[in-house]
Symmetry: C2
Subunit: 337 residues, 2 copies
C-alpha cells in the first residue's frame, strides 16, 4: 500500500497558502485559490486537491498567471455582470462577482456572471454549489484548451468544456453535477499513457483522425466528446456561451495563447443563477419539496445521485481529515525549499 | 417507391387548419399549432410535420387538450415571466410569452419564460430558432412522460427531456440543436417494434431492468439516456428546471395525469434568452463574427453543423413545396370526412 500522510483540513489549507505564497501569488488570490484546493482535497477529488498545487506551480513558473492581478467589475445590465480577472486565477474574479450575481438574481429572478481573462485550474462545482447553498439554481460553463474533435471531425477544436449544475435541496446538500463534455478527462488518458495501457475506442483519434486505442496517439491527436453528436453539440454550446458571448477566448484561442507551455487554460466562464422564489413566490417551498421526489425516484431504484460520492468523502474528511500520498506531499513541499 | 402527394406549404397550412378546426380546436390555438406543423414539414422533420396531426387528433379525442384554452401571463420579476397555457397547446402560450421574454432579455440582459400547464407535441427548435432570429442566444427544456430510467437504475423516471439551443449568426440562419436526452426518440423504438427489428443494446431495458435488444420489451420497460451518467444528469436537470422550478409537473406526474391515454405530455417548458448586446455592448458584432470561427472549425474538417440538414430541406421546400406519403395524406384527410 502506498505511503500516505495524514493531514487536517487546516494543515491542507496552510500548505496551500505557503506553497502559493512561495510561488509569488498575491495574498488576495491565495485565499480563494487555496479554498478551492482544500474543497477538492476534502471531497477526495484527487485531481482537484493539493495535486493541483503542482499545476499551479507549473502555470505560474511558465509566466501564465498575473501574480498580482486585480479583478474589476463591469456592471453590464440589470441581470448581467462581468468580472475581468486581469489574467489571475478565476477564483478571485468569482469571489468578487458572486455577491453581485446573487443580488441581481434576487432582484431580476435570473442573472448571469461572465468571468473574463481568468486562469482556470479547478472544477466548476465549487461555484454552482456555493450558489445553491444560497438558494439559487445555478449553471456554469467554461471552455479550456482545444483538445477535442467535433463529432464527425478529425482534429482538435473544442476544449473539454465542462457543464456544472446545482439545485438547492431543503435540509441537505445541493444536487450537483459537473462533467467534461469530452468522453473522459484528459488526465485519464494521461494516466493510461503512463501505465502503458490501451484506451477504449471512443476516447480519442490519432493525429490522422483515425479511432485509436493508443493513449499517446490520442493525446497527440484528438480527444472525443461523450455521447456522440449530442455531446459534441453541447461542447459547441459551451465554446459559444462561455467564449464569444462574454467576449472571451475560444479553446482554439486559449491553446494558441498557451504557446506550448502546457499551462492551465486562460479565458472565460459563464455562470447563471435562477431564484426559485422569484418564479414561484410563496409556493417555492412546496415545489422544492416536490422536487425531492425526483431524487427519491433515482435513489429508490438503486441509482446514485452524482454528488453523493463527494458528500460522503466530505463527511469523512471533516471528521477525520485526509490522507495524501507521501510522494505527492514531498513533491509539493519541495516548492517550499 | 412509396406513392406521394405534392403539396405547397400553403396547402400544408390549409390542411392543418382544416383538420384542427374539424377536431374542435379554437381558432386562437389553430394558428400557432399549424405554423409549427408547417415548419416541421418544411424542414423535412418527418415526425414533426403533418404526421403530428394524427397525434393531435389522438390527444384531442382523448380529452387531453383544453380546446378553447386561454393563455394567461404572470409577470413574476424583471427578468422572469410565466404563461399559463390553460391546458391548451404550448404554441399559444409561447406566442403570448415570446415578446415579453424578448423585452425582458433586452432590458435585463438575460430573461426566462416558463410555460405552464401546456400540451407538448412538437420539437423545441422552433422556439429557440425564433429567438435567435431576433438576435438572442436561447435555450429551451421540457420534461415529457416518464419513459426513461436514470443511469444505474431499472425503472422509468425521466421523460425524453429534450434540450434545445440556438445562437444568432450574422447573415445566415442560426446555429441550432435540439435533441432528446434519451438515447433515441421513443418513435425510433416504435418503428423497430413495428418492423420486428432488434434494437441496439443501450437503447432500453426490459421491464425487469435488464438490457434488451427487444423493442417491445424496451417500450414496456425503460428507455435509456444518451451518454451514460452524463446524459442521465442532464435529464435530471431538465426535470428540475422545467418542472418544479417553474411550478409544473415532472415526467412521472405527467404520465400519471395521462391515465393510460397515450396522449401528448402535459406540463411545463423553460426558455432562457440572453442578449449578446447587453453582455458585449458595442463589441457584440465583433464577437459574433469571431464565433463564426467555431463553425468554420467544425465544417472545415468535414463535420456537420447540427441544423444544416433542416436548413437544406427548408430551402428545397420553400422553392418546390413538399412531398408527403399518400397513405399519411389519406389518413389525415379521413379526419375531414
Amino acid at each position: 500500500m502506498e505511503d500516505t500522510v495524514a493531514l487536517s483540513l487546516d494543515e491542507v489549507r496552510a500548505l496551500a497558502h505557503r506553497v502559493l505564497a512561495q510561488l509569488g501569488l498575491s495574498e488576495r488570490q491565495i485565499g480563494p485559490v487555496a479554498e478551492t484546493i482544500v474543497a477538492g482535497e476534502r471531497d477526495e477529488c484527487g485531481a482537484h486537491g493539493i495535486y493541483r498545487l503542482l499545476s499551479c506551480a507549473h502555470t505560474i513558473k511558465a509566466g501564465k498567471v498575473v501574480l498580482d492581478a486585480e479583478a474589476v467589475v463591469h456592471d453590464m445590465a440589470p441581470a448581467l455582470v462581468r468580472v475581468d480577472g486581469g489574467g489571475g486565477y478565476a477564483q478571485l474574479a468569482f469571489d468578487l462577482g458572486r455577491p453581485i450575481l446573487a443580488e441581481k438574481a434576487r432582484n431580476c429572478g435570473i442573472a448571469a456572471l461572465g468571468l473574463n481573462n481568468c486562469v482556470h485550474f479547478a472544477a466548476l462545482w465549487p461555484e454552482v454549489e456555493a450558489l445553491a447553498e444560497e438558494g439559487f439554481v445555478a449553471l456554469a460553463f467554461t471552455p479550456s484548451h482545444a483538445w477535442v474533435a467535433p463529432a464527425g471531425g478529425t482534429r482538435p477544436l473544442f476544449g473539454t468544456n465542462p457543464i456544472a449544475f446545482a439545485w438547492p435541496r431543503p435540509n441537505t446538500s445541493p444536487f450537483v453535477f459537473d462533467f467534461a463534455t469530452s468522453a473522459v478527462a484528459r488526465g485519464e488518458i494521461e494516466l493510461h499513457r503512463r501505465a502503458d495501457k490501451p484506451i477504449p475506442l471512443g476516447w480519442g483519434l490519432d493525429p490522422e483522425g483515425n479511432p485509436t486505442t493508443d493513449a499517446a496517439a490520442a493525446l497527440a491527436g484528438s480527444m472525443l466528446t461523450f455521447g456522440g453528436h449530442k455531446g459534441s453539440a453541447l461542447s459547441a454550446m459551451v465554446e459559444l456561451i462561455a467564449g464569444p458571448l462574454i467576449g472571451d477566448m475560444t479553446s482554439v484561442e486559449s491553446i494558441a495563447a498557451d504557446e506550448g507551455a502546457n499551462a492551465s487554460p486562460l479565458g472565460g466562464e459563464l455562470i447563471i443563477a435562477i431564484d426559485p422564489k422569484s418564479f414561484l413566490g410563496a409556493a417555492a417551498a412546496e415545489h422544492l419539496t416536490r422536487a425531492e421526489q425526483i431524487f427519491e425516484g433515482i435513489t429508490g431504484q438503486g441509482a446514485r445521485l452524482p454528488s453523493l460520492r463527494r458528500y460522503e468523502a466530505r463527511a469523512r474528511s471533516l471528521a477525520n481529515g485526509v490522507r495524501v500520498s507521501k510522494k505527492l506531499y514531498d513533491d509539493i513541499r519541495a516548492y517550499l525549499d
